[in-house]
């Protein structure tokens, strides 16, 4: 038998190596000619993320400490001033409370609010998804109350629950509960009739249908609800800590602003942003761990 050497053809390693020099990403094997509008081609790119963050810092520096600063450091601190504020805060804390105490005060308020909002929201959402009557009863309440911004409720909540922790946590319950109700309702309503029918034909009773079909089927939606609610609650934090808080990232902003310490204000804003982004990252990791079937039915 003679050795058969195939002639180089398009798609061979040689050709691909040549093509990849023009490819937009390293290791790209695809020879797509249509990329605009192709969602699979739009993936997150670490490189561009660095460029974006770097650009942001560059602009910030340029406007505050550049050759011709156009922003006054008093009203808009530079990256250096903010960094110094951060170092002080990290080492000495602020107003007799350590950095960790401020952050954990805020985190624990948000988590308490989320916990209560979830404990109320999931059963109510499930009830709305399972019963015509309950849906009829709760629908107008949800639609009416959901758009009310938490801040609008603060004066009343302070009257009812005092200026202590209770009013703050309740405000965060408000921020999360409607999201959880709507997500849970959507999760329940999203179950396909054939899954429920199949389960009944396999001998499941109503309770088993709820436990083994409707609940797991709703989990992806419920988890999305948790992610959104966590984001909304974290965003409501500053409003919740507006009055009567000694500790907390939001509270620190108000206190610092009364002393015109914009560096501390800005530092806390950045911390709130970073913690928020980290929490979402953790939620996304949890999601891919706990709900691997998401979006694959």
């Amino acid at each position: 038998m003679s050795e058969h050497v195939p002639a180089p053809v398009a798609g061979s390693p040689v050709e691909d190596a040549k093509a990849s020099r023009f490819g937009r990403r390293r290791g790209m094997q695809s020879r797509k000619t249509v990329t605009f509008g192709d969602a699979s081609d739009v993936t997150t790119s670490k490189g561009w993320m660095l460029v974006s963050l770097g650009g942001l810092f560059l602009l910030w520096w340029w406007f505050t400490r550049g050759p011709e600063p156009i922003l006054d450091e008093k009203t808009f601190p530079s990256p250096f001033a903010t960094w110094d504020a951060f170092v002080d805060w990290w080492r000495d804390g602020y107003r007799r409370a350590s950095a960790w105490e401020h952050a954990s005060a805020s985190l624990s308020r948000v988590l308490k609010g989320m916990l209560i909002g979830t404990i109320i929201g999931i059963p109510v959402g499930f009830a709305m998804g399972l019963s015509r009557v309950l849906r009829g009863i709760f629908d107008p309440i949800v639609e009416l109350f959901r758009p009310v911004p938490p801040l609008a409720l603060l004066p009343m909540f302070i009257m009812w629950f005092g200026i202590g922790e209770e009013s703050k946590v309740n405000l965060l319950v408000w921020a999360s509960v409607w999201v959880m109700i709507i997500a849970s309702r959507a999760g329940v309503l999203g179950v396909s009739g054939s899954k429920v029918h199949a389960a009944y034909s396999l001998g499941a009773n109503k309770w088993q249908i709820l436990r083994y079909v409707i609940l797991p089927n709703a989990l992806p939606e419920v988890f999305t609800g948790l992610r959104v609610a966590l984001g909304v609650s974290w965003g409501t934090l500053v409003a919740a800590e507006l009055v009567g808080a000694e500790k907390g990232l939001g509270a620190s902003i108000y206190i610092a602003s009364r002393f015109f310490r914009m560096d501390i204000v800005l530092m806390n804003i950045v911390i709130i942003g970073v913690i928020g982004a980290l929490m979402d990252l953790v939620m996304r990791l949890l999601e891919s761990r706990l709900i691997p079937w998401r979006g694959k039915s």
Binding site: H197, Y200, W293, S297
Partner: protein, 268 residues
Amino acid sequence: MKDLSVQNVSMVYELPKGGSVQALHDVSFDLEAGRLLTLLGPSGCGKTTLLNIVAGFLAPSGGSVELGGTPITGPGQERGMVFQQGALFEWQNVAQNVAFGPRMNRRKRSETKALVDGLLNTVGLTGFGDKAIYELSGGMQQRVALARCLANEPEVILMDEPLGALDALTREKMQGLILKLWKETGKTIILVTHSVEEALFLGDKLFVMAPRPGRIEKAYELPFAEVGLTTDPRKLKASAEFIEKREELLSMIWGMEEQIMGHEGGMS
């Protein structure tokens, strides 16, 4: 073994905006235990409705359905169901899906495990127990659906276009599997299909259904399913007898389709 008896069943859907659709009109038939009945007909002739009534998901507006002399009033595990797709539980793996029925019945775990392994073997999925549903091809998913349905030992298996979403080759393979299961288990099967060839090949009894109102237009007793396992299916489908029946059914269904088109054309 229980015979299925469908007497004067009719179904009228009341439309929410007023008016109604007569999905089934005075459908009657008896199906002895162990038969494989295929239902064929253009869409909208009430095939799914009939299947859902037998499954117990719908109560007919008139008439009665009995299995072994017992009236059907709701879903029950003596009547298993295989859907076209999307009825598997994607949060469970293959083995857990198959074990769903026994688990709902609180059967012993050790028993169930042996049962599941046996069923996976029967449908040709040995070793796939730990796989996730979404990792499987469409054909494999339907194998899981078949195994899941068999786990509860139903008297009757109802299938609504079970192979409708599969490609032609996979479809032929699955037809062979359905015939094999029918022969080995001796279960009564009612299978809805759009494909004339499939209805002929699988059915040892075949109803052609017609729309407006949904009814049984013609009933056939067929020889092909009986020999489908021992003869080469390709040769069987190419035999003169098969082709003759196929053309007869095709022209009947074409006639109905044209009537429907004419009807709809007349309305616009």
